[in-house]
Symmetry: C2
Subunit: 456 residues, 2 copies
């Protein structure tokens, strides 16, 4: 069990499993799955197309299904939920932790939701409602509601007795507990008592003497991204979450934060290719095709815009066909230069390091960098043109247009993210498209315009 499986190659496990299924050895496949752990099964499921996924899903026990479900991409979760019988789903989700259940809840069928709510005891339902009260992407949505809290006037041996009692009553303490939260009579946050202090200090110390008060609790409405930054910057393992009145309502543990960081990174990478939502590599073909059609459609409009610019110069191209040969070079180099600036600026904004206060400096630096390269590449292409086509005036026009479009690119790359931000559009998603539209249209216009003016 546990992370043994991960050390073997997941792909190898997938192959084994597939062979068993192909040969119809369902019992052996079931056994193989039963000796594996939820994260590994989730990973394997995502690597199979849908027919296989459903087949494997049916071989899992309800208990493990729940643990597997919460590890999957939303899209894959939705597919499995849609294919499961309500009775099975109720069994699958009723054993989940409250915060995991809250994440899934909205996407469960009405019937399952009702049954799950009904099966909860009063205390669990209250906790559940507390988590559901906050949006997913906030501290409140991330938190567990099982925080153990003690009062500051207790002594360490009282705390130890209290922990033993909880353990005795509930069978276990909350997972990932590295510290106990200290509150006042009104449940307001005061500080943290670390377990490592609890085990290594004298038992007659008062909690108030040894608690840590230097870090602040996280307000429930703090965005998840910001919570992730706090955990990263301050190397936190867990942090208390409070409401507007500074009352303790839960705690966030680092394992949930790790998921936020990974998801955020995944989204940033996917969105550079217009794939924001497409998490499932084996999403149904028609669903995928629809989503991607939007992106392709936007890009088609861009491409037609650039074509329209070229069309204005048809006469020039007719006279001098070499213009058609060279124009894509000018356009694409501007796009490359712009993408580099764009990527740096978008990251800078995400890290709070680039903002209206220093965007001019960033722009200045980027233009400096590209000016050097514009000189370098303009002289390279001018030389190439003289050697290739023995045409120095063409070479000069080409070089000039290239240099101008490289500068265009850098400028657009620095400005576009801010412009999109003002319009309420995510620069990570739309930045690349807008940039390409700019550098293509301007690149063709500059080159063909200069050529028409100077060469014809």
């Amino acid at each position: 069990m546990a992370h043994q499986d991960n050390k073997k190659d997941n792909r190898q496990f997938a192959t084994e499993l597939e062979e068993l299924l192909n040969a119809g050895y369902l019992t052996r496949a079931t056994t193989r799955l039963a000796t594996s752990d939820p994260p590994t099964i989730a990973n394997i499921l995502e690597a199979f197309p849908w027919e296989r996924r459903l087949q494997i899903w049916q071989l899992l026990t309800p208990q493990i299904k729940g643990a597997v479900l919460i590890e999957l991409y939303e899209e894959v979760q939705d597919g499995l939920i849609a294919e499961s019988l309500p009775e099975d789903l109720i069994k699958t989700v009723s054993g989940l932790d409250i915060d995991d259940l809250a994440d899934l809840y909205e996407r469960l069928p009405e019937k399952v939701r009702a049954a799950v709510l009904q099966a909860m005891d009063e205390k669990r339902r209250q906790r559940f409602e507390a988590v559901r009260h906050y949006p997913d992407n906030t501290a409140g949505g991330l938190m567990d509601v099982d925080a153990v809290a003690v009062r500051d006037d207790a002594t360490l041996d009282t705390v130890l007795r209290y922990l033993r009692r909880i353990r005795h009553q509930q069978g276990a303490l909350p997972e990932h507990m590295d510290a106990i939260i200290v509150v006042d009579r009104a449940s307001r946050y005061i500080g943290m008592l670390s377990l490592s202090d609890l085990v290594s200090l004298e038992e007659n110390c008062a909690v108030s003497e040894v608690m840590h008060t230097e870090s602040n609790p996280i307000p429930a409405l703090t965005p998840a991204k910001k919570v992730a930054r706090l955990f990263e910057d301050y190397d936190l393992l867990s942090a208390p979450v409070v409401d507007e009145d500074n009352k303790l309502i839960g705690r966030i543990t680092v394992d949930d934060v790790v998921d936020v960081i990974r998801e955020e990174a995944d989204r940033a990478l996917m969105s550079t290719a217009g794939l924001e939502e497409e998490s499932d590599i084996f999403a149904p073909i028609v669903t995928s095709a629809k989503r991607r059609a939007i992106w392709l459609g936007i890009n088609l409009i861009n491409a037609f815009l650039a074509a329209w610019v070229i069309e204005q110069f048809e006469g020039s191209i007719e006279q001098l066909v070499i213009l058609a040969v060279l124009m894509p070079i000018v356009a694409s180099m501007g796009g490359i230069a712009g993408t580099q600036t764009l990527t740096l600026v978008i990251r800078g904004i995400a890290l709070d390091q680039v903002g209206p206060g220093n965007i001019r400096r960033v722009l200045g630096k980027e233009l400096g960098v590209i000016a050097i390269n514009a000189l370098l590449f303009a002289s390279t292409v001018a030389t190439a043109m003289i050697i290739w086509h023995q045409d120095s005036s063409l070479g000069l026009v080409f070089a000039l247009a290239l240099a101008i479009n490289l500068l265009n690119g850098a400028m657009a790359g620095a400005i576009i993210p801010f412009a999109l931000h003002k319009l309420g559009i995510d620069p990570a998603l739309a930045g690349g498209v807008v940039l390409m539209a700019t550098t293509d249209a301007l690149g063709f216009f500059t080159f063909l315009g200069l050529a028409t003016f100077f060469l014809l």
Copy 2:
């Protein structure tokens, strides 16, 4: 202190600081910095250009300098190290934790390294050498060597007494301790004793009765990426690291893993724009220009290759200038379609979900998706051509070329990552360039070739 500052806007702090520096209020700036914490200062430093960075750096105390230094991008670290006097550097780094010091060590000047080594006592030096023995990007390079271990034949109250003794002797227990590692007489790993068990179970229990043995220790040479996956999948807070003989040599804590995840994600995003190494937005202009010139140069070669393809059809373009107008549309749409497939496949490979075993299935699915869109967009552009230019044969050729290049793109996007992988080249870095070269050259060739064959 602590995360108070992060809640204010970092950009606002930067503005304040800049105003103080501009007005020459150095003492007030120093005080403002002294009331702030290392992660915030590091973030601010990265948001300023070099002259400012050095000015701020000089206002920091040696103690805080060390803590700030380890939070910075390597490139910024190197710049500050190069600008610091050896005596100051020695003070700055000598207070660092062993694993942080090991990360910096190779990049310190010889003189500083010698002095730092000399100042270590025998025990600290041994630990330091143990960490340095392993490459940075392995479990051994990530680990701390301050793991607290107990023997399995101890009882919980012996363990508690032992912890109190360590604390008494060393002033504190290791940071981020959520569990104590259990070893046998020969220091070989056996299991883990969680602090939450230690505080909540009866003190006369034997360690061997309550320890957890279900998870495996991490071998020292496990790649950092894999360590990150283990922590993510199994929600670990810390894990023991062992050598080839299963002997305990250290432990990894989740805060170091979070940094690995963030760096890996950062690298993946940057490399889509050929920016693998450029972490510092204010890197010196000439340094940045040199790095980016490589990427621009590679892309220039690509663009010339595409231009060469176009040149072969100069005669056709001369006869039918509209070909020059439409050809960039065919090329760019293939690039977009290919980038989507490429991004999904690269991520799938990184997650171990796509491999030689199922690449055909992935390719089949991607071709299915793009076939639907090829139909959709081919009929759209054919219709557009008929309306725009009243030319149905041109419309058909354009539509056919577009459809073929969309399929090219999807195929190239699925195959290129594997081809690059075989050649030992990072697909995340080079995939986009190779893809664009393919879709541009094939796009121009297909469209101009079909047009020459059917229309002229």
